[in-house]
């Protein structure tokens, strides 16, 4: 139902041609859905079922001979996507990390229609090549970045390479004119009270322009009027969403004033986005249909806002509709009815995406966290694995990470040991993986030379860990097999059937089992005794501590 043709599209300046038959046209810019996109702009993409947007920098724009329009982007990552390489709590609240290096995740070629909007990303790298952003620019930024993530090496760095994906570094730094404040950026920074969209360029008559700006803000929903007619209304009106909506409607009814600018602010608490304004046109099915996908697009963005950690965000989605909508102005009165976002919202959103160009990759799979055991093995080989002893057994892994962060100002990944029957319940132990071997050494040395006293009289003990990794063994002392029965047992194991039973008295098996029980019982007693003795011994020395 969504016709891409409905969305205005115009190529900008041609850069050249390429391809075997020289029939691929490259461009410097294009106008899509009322927004001009140029090379090196940052843009949003959305993927089904993924709440957060993908953000990329356009590095190539072209049209294939079959008229499909493509853009190539270098990706920015959200910290949560690369959590095993960058601690999320370390990241700034609106930080992105630029992809670099070589490999999966650096760039992608996407259908141009998949672009969901412009994104203002500011480089805050202290690099001398980078023009430092002004305070205003930083405030206007949707996101900032200063670190890069090497997708091949999987390392984080604050250096920006000479070239990323063949593109010179200067295009990743802030460029002059790069942050030319356009209407949407202004509204983002101005945030709360400013009238939004005064800067919106006048649209040709007959066009109906609706701009929906979703602002993530703690302020109660405030609807502000934009555009000449509405700006003229009194303050009270401008504070009530409904009123302003009806104002719009009355404007529409007036017929000749087809230009409506409206911006809706949505607080972060609001899960449902108020898109009533659009729905009012439902009496005119054509118009409503044409509007719907755009409503969806705006909703997508609102998701973004929800996730942006209290940062004021603004999106100004400009909807320019063609003749179809101007028909609306010609007589047919839109009915006043407040319609919630359609129930089949999801479906139609998908629909919209399908026809508008779909992303055909799953970014979430790119940098999956390795299983702990694997990480431990790697860390062990690199010498970054440390064993901490004498922790309070009640701590959890996050506590240990906290301690390390506070004491050493270093991030790490920690894992408390899981207690078993053979570990002294009085002592907690943990494995900790540090970023580098040097850090690991430093921590061990400092804890060895000095004494870090944790609560409850527990000086922390650290050593470079030397773990053993369980190998698969097939025999188990205590399980007897007769060769004849072996095959049968293997089959049973595979099918996991009848592999367990309680032993019955008066059998040889029972007698032997009893011997094991005896051994188990004895072992348990000795462990208990040992642990008691150890604890007593520890407490005795601990009592000598003056500070508790």
């Amino acid at each position: 139902m969504v016709d891409v043709e409905n969305l205005e599209f115009k190529w900008g300046k041609k850069r050249g041609v390429g391809g075997k038959k020289r029939d691929v046209r490259f461009y410097e810019s294009f106008t899509y859905d009322g927004e001009e996109y140029r090379l090196y702009d940052c843009v949003y993409f959305f993927k089904d079922d993924e709440p957060l947007p993908y953000i990329g920098k356009i590095i190539k724009i072209w049209e294939n001979p079959d008229k499909t329009k493509k853009v190539k982007v270098v990706w920015f990552f959200q910290p949560h996507e690369i959590t095993c390489y960058l601690a999320a709590e370390e990241a700034l609240e609106n930080e992105l990390v630029l992809a670099t290096g070589e490999g999966l995740g650096l760039t992608n070629i996407n259908p141009l229609e998949a672009i969901a909007g412009k994104c203002n990303v500011v480089c805050i790298s202290k690099d001398s090549r980078n023009r430092q952003p002004s305070i205003e620019e930083r405030q206007l930024a949707d996101y900032v970045f200063y670190q890069t993530f090497d997708v091949g090496q999987r390392t984080i760095s604050d250096k920006i390479d000479e070239k990323i994906a063949g593109i010179e570094a200067k295009y990743f730094f802030n460029r002059e004119g790069f942050l030319k404040p356009s209407a949407d950026q202004k509204s983002g920074g101005a945030g709360k009270e400013d009238t939004i969209g005064k800067q919106i360029p006048e649209q040709p008559d007959g066009d109906m322009k609706v701009s929906l700006s979703v602002i993530h803000d703690k302020v109660a929903p405030v609807v502000q009027e934009v555009g000449s007619e509405i700006a003229g209304t009194d303050k009270k009106d401008s504070l009530s969403g409904l009123k302003s909506s009806s104002k719009i409607d009355s404007d529409v009814r007036e017929g000749n004033k087809a230009k409506i600018d409206d911006s809706v602010k949505v607080p972060d608490e609001a899960k449902k986005i108020n898109v009533q304004n659009f729905s009012r046109h439902d009496s005119d099915s054509n118009a409503a249909k044409a509007l719907e996908p755009n409503v969806k697009a705006s909703e997508d963005k609102s998701k973004l806002a929800k996730d942006s950690h209290g940062k004021v965000k603004s999106f100004l989605k400009e909807l320019k509709t063609d003749d179809k909508l101007t028909k609306l102005g010609n007589g047919k009165l839109p009915k006043e009815s407040s319609v919630q976002p359609p129930k089949d919202y999801k479906k139609s959103k998908k629909h919209a995406l399908q026809s508008m160009g779909k992303l055909d990759f799953d970014r979430s799979k790119w940098f999956k966290e390795l299983p702990w055991e694997e990480r431990m093995k790697n860390a062990h080989e690199e010498g970054t694995l440390v064993l901490l002893q004498n922790l309070d057994p009640a701590y959890n892994s996050a506590d240990v990470q906290d301690i390390v962060r506070q004491v050493f100002k270093e991030t790490c990944t920690a894992k408390m040991f899981q207690r078993t029957a053979f570990s002294n319940p009085y002592y907690g132990q943990a494995f900790v993986i540090f970023k580098t071997r040097e850090v690991a050494q430093m921590v061990v040395t400092r804890l060895d030379k000095g004494c870090l006293l944790l609560p409850n009289g527990r000086p922390l003990v650290a050593s470079i860990a030397n773990p053993s990794f369980p190998k698969k063994q097939s025999t188990f002392s205590g399980h007897l097999t007769l060769d004849k029965l072996k095959l049968q047992t293997q089959r049973e194991m595979k099918e996991a059937v009848s592999t367990s039973h309680c032993s019955q008295p008066n059998t040889l098996e029972f007698d032997m089992a009893m011997e094991w029980c005896l051994l188990q019982e004895r072992a348990e007693c000795s462990w208990k005794k040992l642990f008691e003795l150890q604890e007593k011994e520890y407490r005795k020395v601990k009592a000598e501590l003056k500070s508790k």
Partner: protein, 198 residues
């Protein structure tokens, strides 16, 4: 809230050890499903102990009373899983056995670096030594326990072999008719069921 939920989970979980390395989650599930509903099985990895340590696992049941029942049955009767005669052992699970335990509410960890001039410094040093000594002690104990287990296993294997040999011998003299002949000779009745009950 999260912590209270976790405490509930601990109550319906049991710690099982002395498991053969061949035991998989499916095996353990089917072994314990007869006592109730197994909700989850998590094997506890062993990174510091000897590599031939038996497996251990946390088994979460649907209800705390199911976990209790299993522990009681397995304490009274030797319970075999995936092999015999070494039975598995079940105990109530403890919080510290879990990998993903939530933060205990209201805990704040304070720390301080002791100065070498502080009289506590020396005490702390001794405590650190003690920790290392104790962990060495535990390691030694574990090693000895494994040795004892191996010894018992060997001994049992031998007696099983001897037993098996005995049965085979009996089997063969029954099969070749020598038993019947002897029975006749001594004027006794011979019934196979004496030798092969069932």
């Amino acid at each position: 809230m999260e912590y209270a939920e976790f405490e509930e989970k601990v109550k319906r979980t049991l710690y099982v050890d002395d498991l053969s390395p061949n035991v998989t989650e499916a095996v353990l599930r089917s072994a314990l499903d007869q006592f109730g509903t197994v909700k989850s099985v998590q094997f506890i990895p062993n990174y510091l102990g000897p590599s031939n340590l038996p497996q251990r696992a946390l088994v979460e049941m649907a209800e705390p009373k199911e976990a209790k029942a299993i522990i009681s049955v397995l304490t009274q009767f030797p319970f075999m899983v995936a092999g015999m005669p070494r039975p598995v052992r079940a105990r109530a699970a403890k919080m510290e056995m879990f990998d993903d335990r939530p933060k205990r509410p209201g805990r704040e960890i304070q720390y301080c670096w002791l100065k070498p001039s502080d009289p506590d410094f020396q005490v702390a040093k001794r405590l650190k030594h003690l920790v290392q000594k104790h962990s060495a002690e535990s390691a030694l104990m574990l090693k000895q326990q494994l040795l004892k287990e191996e010894e018992l296993a060997k001994q049992q294997a031998q007696s099983l072999k001897a037993n098996y040999k005995k049965y085979e011998m009996v089997d063969s003299i029954v099969a070749d008719g020598r038993v019947s002949k002897l029975a006749k000779y001594y004027n006794q009745m011979f019934d196979r069921r004496f030798v092969f009950p069932g």
